[in-house]
Symmetry: C2
Subunit: 357 residues, 2 copies
């Protein structure tokens, strides 16, 4: 079969959400030849019309049978939906790229940032997991450094955008902000995390909780950054070779996460700011924005809508040789979600890892 | 002379600014007996009426002669004003507590956080410097830990409020936010830093630059956090005993700075989350807000208007024994500026270090 003329049948699961609408966009702009698109969502959204490449597509309720004939599934409808439906899609011969955390830590599920561990795709069993947004951009920035100089330790503090919690959370940030500016009390129903007991305003505030706080005192988001980093860079979620610790904070920014990252490299003799700048400048998916003299550094308002990860403020720790600080920003809905998912699908297609039915 | 009945003549330099108005407030609520108050500002604000303890006070233009008869000066009118006028005040016998960075690094000027190094006040020569806002709250949180377990290294990432750049900057944040919500373009004239070449919006954005970026690639704010910490804790701005590095970021929050702090202690055997929680709970000026089960942790909206420094999210680095993460929030205009300044003046009075004329 000539796939270039026929193309792939692609289903987007969770097509109406903040990530879902961007999955449609990114797929439209991708190199994947699409013969048919299916937009799937909950029964609540079924019947709604969306567009794909200028044509109307009616959203269907996602059911096991929805995946009949589908070659590629791009999923972003929440962990429980993925857990229930993706095995059904695999059973029907589809390859699934899942943007939820449902399967990320299963040993036989590749967790992939194409710039880092594309090769892991060759071991897939029908499901490939897309990492957490805050992990992905850190991987794009640090992988070139790891390859050149090795990494001993990563200490990261995040400045995460509201949209990471979904479209309704983003709307809540805006309505809270307007209430605050009008001198009204802010009401909070979503942040810090939808399923938790207490809710606090995010507008003009900072919330040092993303996802639930666990018994080990870390939030689940922090846990993800630690273990996903190890799985992506080292192939094992508990590999002690690179020490990782994280503090995740939600900030009143709509889109694009910021990260203050401190690293200690193995090759202390050869690592330098100049060398790291050169590595970032040449790295796929990364853009160097590091010109202190002209006040050039990554900012969320400039990164939003872009696929790249922006890196700047690279500085040596003045008292600890081989350690560096840097500031990394990327669109959490694109490289942190929709683009990385579509990019994985592109690599699956390019590497001939999807069987066309 | 019975100072308790007579009291001190106090001048507030820069009385009309964001910190100045809070200096008036904090002085009203302080234990210092005030016999007379002088409110000084630039010629632009002269003639304006403010209140002190319910009485109208006319703002006067600050001149060298303004300090005749003054016992205590509380200054927050900018570095160049302090440089010019405080030596004049000292010449006239006043003791000055300066909230600017003008004298902080002079070896014979004590740089004081009363909870940490009150004793340094005994060596004053007329001027005492109030540290930078972001440094002060870190000192309140870390000093009890340093005393109990020793500190090897501090790695801090800040989330700093707009008001740290003054009242006009705070107004700019609000007007930018309203423009953004109205779908208009945001115009920026102040952030990241008034005197610099480029200006970027702060509303719904993050700016990894506070104060100017220097040749060593650090911002001047980061430089301050490094060297002020050493001077306050160790008595010498270049003491290598505690390694300090910092990344300072401005966030779209009006008041109260957040800080994600990573520390490595010397006594790795005895330091624990429980021990650190107990130390913070008993420390002067610090309040423990660390109950993950009930989602209790420091937030700017709760810290604003309070004198204390709030500490929470205390966690062990799971892979590096003796290292801990924590999250610290305090009102940058109170403990970070006005309250610490008045608190120093209270200690000067209590320790009999001000001569009444």
């Amino acid at each position: 079969m000539n796939i270039m003329s026929e193309g792939y049948e692609v289903a987007i699961l969770g097509a109406t959400g903040a990530v879902g609408t961007r999955l449609i966009q990114q797929l439209e702009q991708s190199t994947i030849p699409v013969s048919k698109i299916r937009l799937l969502a909950s029964s609540r959204s079924a019947g709604k019309k969306l567009q794909f490449k200028g044509e109307d597509v009616v959203v269907e309720e996602a059911k096991p049978e929805s995946f009949e004939g589908v070659d590629i599934v791009l999923a972003s409808a929440g962990g429980s939906v993925s857990k229930k439906l993706l095995p059904e899609a695999v059973k029907r011969g589809a390859v699934c790229v899942d943007n939820t955390s449902a399967f990320r830590m299963e040993p036989d599920v590749p967790l992939v940032v194409p710039e880092v561990n594309e090769k892991a795709l060759y071991n897939h069993h029908g499901i490939i997991a897309n990492p957490n947004c805050s992990t992905i951009q850190m991987m794009v920035a640090l992988e070139p450094i790891r390859k050149a100089f090795g990494l001993k330790q990563i200490i990261v503090s995040t400045y995460q955008a509201a949209s990471g919690a979904g479209q309704s959370a983003l709307n809540e940030l805006y309505s809270e902000a307007q209430d605050y500016l009008d001198g009204k009390e802010m009401s909070a129903d979503i942040f810090p995390t939808k399923g938790d007991k207490e809710h606090y305003p995010l507008a003009f505030n900072l919330l040092p909780q993303i996802d639930v706080l666990e018994d080990n005192l870390y939030s689940h988001e922090e846990w993800k950054m630690i273990h996903e980093t190890k799985k992506i860079m080292l192939g094992d979620m508990d590999d002690p070779k690179i020490k990782v610790t994280a503090t995740c904070v939600r900030v009143p920014v709509p889109i694009s996460h910021g990260e203050s990252i401190y690293i200690e490299v193995e090759d202390k003799e050869n690592a330098s700011v100049e060398a790291i700048r050169k590595l970032i400048d040449e790295a796929p998916g990364a853009v160097l924005q590091d010109d202190p003299e002209h006040q050039v550094y990554p900012q969320p308002i400039n990164a939003t809508g872009k696929r790249d990860t922006y890196v700047g403020r690279i500085r040596p720790d003045l008292e600890n040789k081989g350690a560096f600080n840097m500031w990394v920003v990327s669109d959490n809905l694109l490289k942190g979600a929709a683009w990385n998912t579509v990019q994985i699908a592109e690599r699956l297609v390019a590497d001939d890892l999807v069987e066309v039915k």
